[in-house]
C-alpha cells in the first residue's frame, strides 16, 4: 500500500462567509464555512482549504473565528491561505486551529518570508501557493520566462515576470513543505488541469504538489495524478454539487490510484 491521493475541496471565505456558489443538499446555511467544512469532512475530504479573500483587515478577525470553530468540529487537516504577510499572521492562524498556512503574494515579494516561517514553525505548515499562467503566444522573447510559465499575484491579475518553475524550486529549497500549483489559465474553465505545467513543476521539486485549477469532470483527476500531483484540489465542481468527493475518489481508484475511504 502507499500514500493515498488527497482530494481537497477549497472554499473562498469573505468576512466569515463562503462566497462563490454553493449548492449542497441538506445544508441549513450554504454560506457558513463551518457547516460546509463539516459536510465535506463527512463526504471524505482528505483536507480542506480556506482561501480568505477578505479585503479589509477588520473583517479578517472573523476568519480566525471561522478557523477556530472549524477546527473544533472537523478532524481532518485545514489549510488557510490569503492575506498572510508575515510570521505573526501564521502564528495566529495556527493558534486558531489551522494546520497549514498558504502563502502567495507576500512570498513572491519577499522570498525570505518562506525561510522565516519554516524556521519558526517547520516546513510542514507552509504551503506555497503558486498562481501560474502560460506566457501568451506572441509574448516577445525578452518578456517570456525561460519555462514559458509565469508567476502571477493578486488572484492572477498581475504578472510578475518571475519564472514559475524556478520560483517553485526556490521556494521548496527555502523551506516550503508543499506547492499548491494553481493554473490561472485553467482556473474556472472546468476543462481539466494544466498537465504540462504539473509535470514541469513535479520534475523541479521534491515536496508534495497539489494540482489546482480546471477540474470539471471525473476524468480530469487521474491524469493530474499521473502528471505528478500528490493531491487534487477543486472548488466549483464540489460547491455546485456537480461532483462529490466520493465520486472523485471512485474515479481515482478505478484508475488504480490509492484513495482513503472515509
Amino acid at each position: 500500500m502507499s500514500l493515498a491521493v488527497r482530494v481537497v475541496p477549497c472554499l473562498d471565505v469573505d468576512a466569515g462567509r463562503v462566497v462563490k456558489g454553493v449548492n449542497f443538499a441538506g445544508l441549513r446555511d450554504a454560506g457558513d464555512p463551518v457547516e460546509l467544512a463539516r459536510q465535506y469532512g463527512d463526504d471524505g475530504a482528505d483536507e480542506l482549504v480556506f482561501l480568505d479573500v477578505t479585503a479589509s483587515s477588520d473583517a479578517r478577525e472573523t476568519t480566525y473565528d471561522v478557523v477556530a470553530r472549524t477546527a473544533e468540529q472537523v478532524f481532518v487537516p485545514l489549510t488557510v491561505g490569503g492575506g498572510v504577510r508575515g510570521v505573526a499572521d501564521v502564528d495566529r492562524l495556527l493558534r486558531a486551529g489551522a494546520d497549514k498556512v498558504g502563502v502567495n503574494t507576500a512570498a513572491v515579494a519577499r522570498p525570505r518570508l518562506v525561510t522565516e516561517i519554516a524556521d519558526r514553525f517547520g516546513a510542514q505548515v507552509l504551503v506555497l501557493s503558486v498562481d501560474a499562467r502560460r506566457c501568451p503566444p506572441g509574448t516577445p522573447p525578452s518578456e517570456r520566462t525561460p519555462s514559458g510559465f509565469e508567476v502571477t499575484t493578486h488572484g492572477g491579475r498581475r504578472g510578475t515576470g518571475v519564472d514559475a518553475l524556478a520560483w517553485a524550486a526556490e521556494a521548496a529549497r527555502l523551506g516550503a513543505g508543499e506547492i499548491l500549483l494553481n493554473s490561472v489559465d485553467a482556473d474556472g474553465t472546468t476543462a481539466g488541469f494544466d498537465l504540462e505545467m504539473l509535470r514541469a513543476v513535479r520534475a523541479e521539486v521534491g515536496v508534495p504538489v497539489v494540482a489546482s485549477g480546471g477540474a470539471g469532470r471525473l476524468a480530469d483527476f487521474a491524469p493530474a495524478v499521473e502528471a505528478g500531483a500528490d493531491a487534487v484540489l477543486a472548488a466549483s465542481v464540489f460547491h455546485f454539487g456537480v461532483l462529490s468527493v466520493g465520486q472523485v475518489k471512485d474515479a481515482l481508484a478505478a484508475a488504480g490510484h490509492p484513495v482513503r475511504r472515509a
Binding site: 500514500l3 487537516p77 489551522a98 513543505g177 508543499e178 508534495p208
Partner: protein
C-alpha cells in the same frame, strides 16, 4: 466510571487545539496545560509536538516535561506522544544536524535515531496505511489493514532497537519507518490521530478506554 482526565501538555507547540477537541470528542475530560502537578495527576498525558525536533525537545524540557514523563512512567501511568512528540522520546534527532555529533538529544526513553526520510517526495504528507500487530491497544485486537492515518513529517525512526516486548507498528514511504509504538504505559504515534478523521477518533477512544483500565488497575481490585 467517570470520564478519564487527560492532560494535553502545553509546551508551546503549534496547533494543539485540535488535539484537545479530538480527545474531548472521545468523552474524556481534557485540559490543556503546562502545569506539572496537573500533568502528573491526570489519568493520561498527551505530549504533542509540531515543528523541529530540537525546538520541541527544548520546549518540552523548559516545562519540566521530561521529568513529568519519567515520573509517570515509573508509576505505570499512561503517556501518549504524537508526531514530534513521538520523535523526542527517542535518543537523537538528526534534523538540521550537519553531522551526527551535532544531533539533538531526545528524552532517550527508547534508543535510536530520528533521521530524514530518504524517499522521493518529502515531507511524507497525507493518509497512509499501517501494519499494526494483533492485540494492539491503539489499533484494536484485529487491526484493519485498510485504515488510513494522517502523517506529515520529514524525519522518522527507521529501525527499532528498543525492547522486543514493545508492540511496534510500521508504515512505508519509500522505506519502512516506525508509525507507532506501544511499550507498557508509554505509547506514541508518528501520525496525527487528532487529524485522522474517524480512524483517528477510534484510535483515541481505544487509548482513552485503556486509561479506565489503567486507573482501575492502579486502584486495585474492587
Amino acid at each position: 466510571m467517570a470520564s478519564p482526565r487527560v492532560v494535553v501538555l502545553d509546551h508551546g507547540s503549534g496547533n494543539v487545539r485540535s488535539a484537545v477537541r479530538a480527545l474531548e470528542a472521545t468523552g474524556a475530560h481534557v485540559t490543556l496545560t503546562g502545569d506539572r502537578g496537573a500533568a502528573l495527576a491526570a489519568d493520561g498525558l498527551v505530549v504533542p509536538g509540531v515543528g523541529a525536533f530540537a525546538a520541541v525537545a527544548r520546549d518540552l524540557r523548559a516545562v519540566g516535561g521530561h521529568e513529568v514523563v519519567a515520573e509517570r512512567l515509573a508509576a505505570g501511568r499512561p503517556v501518549l506522544g504524537v508526531c514530534v512528540g513521538l520523535q523526542v522520546l527517542f535518543g537523537r534527532g538528526l534534523e538540521h544536524a550537519a553531522d551526527e555529533a551535532s544531533a539533538a538529544a531526545g528524552l532517550g526513553l527508547w534508543p535510536g535515531d530520528v533521521a530524514r526520510l530518504p524517499s522521493g517526495v518529502v515531507p511524507h504528507m497525507g493518509w497512509n496505511t499501517v501494519e499494526a500487530p494483533a492485540g494492539s491497544t491503539l489499533f484494536g485486537a484485529e487491526p484493519d489493514p485498510d485504515e488510513r492515518y494522517y502523517f506529515v513529517h520529514s524525519f522518522a525512526v527507521q529501525r527499532w532497537t528498543g525492547p522486543a516486548s514493545a508492540r511496534v507498528t510500521w508504515a512505508e514511504h519509500g522505506v519502512r519507518f516506525v508509525a507507532a509504538v506501544e511499550d507498557g504505559p508509554l505509547s506514541a504515534t508518528q501520525f496525527h490521530p487528532e487529524k485522522s478523521g474517524d480512524a483517528g477518533q477510534r484510535l483515541l477512544r481505544r487509548w482513552v478506554a485503556s486509561l479506565d483500565d489503567a486507573v482501575g488497575t492502579a486502584r486495585g481490585p474492587a
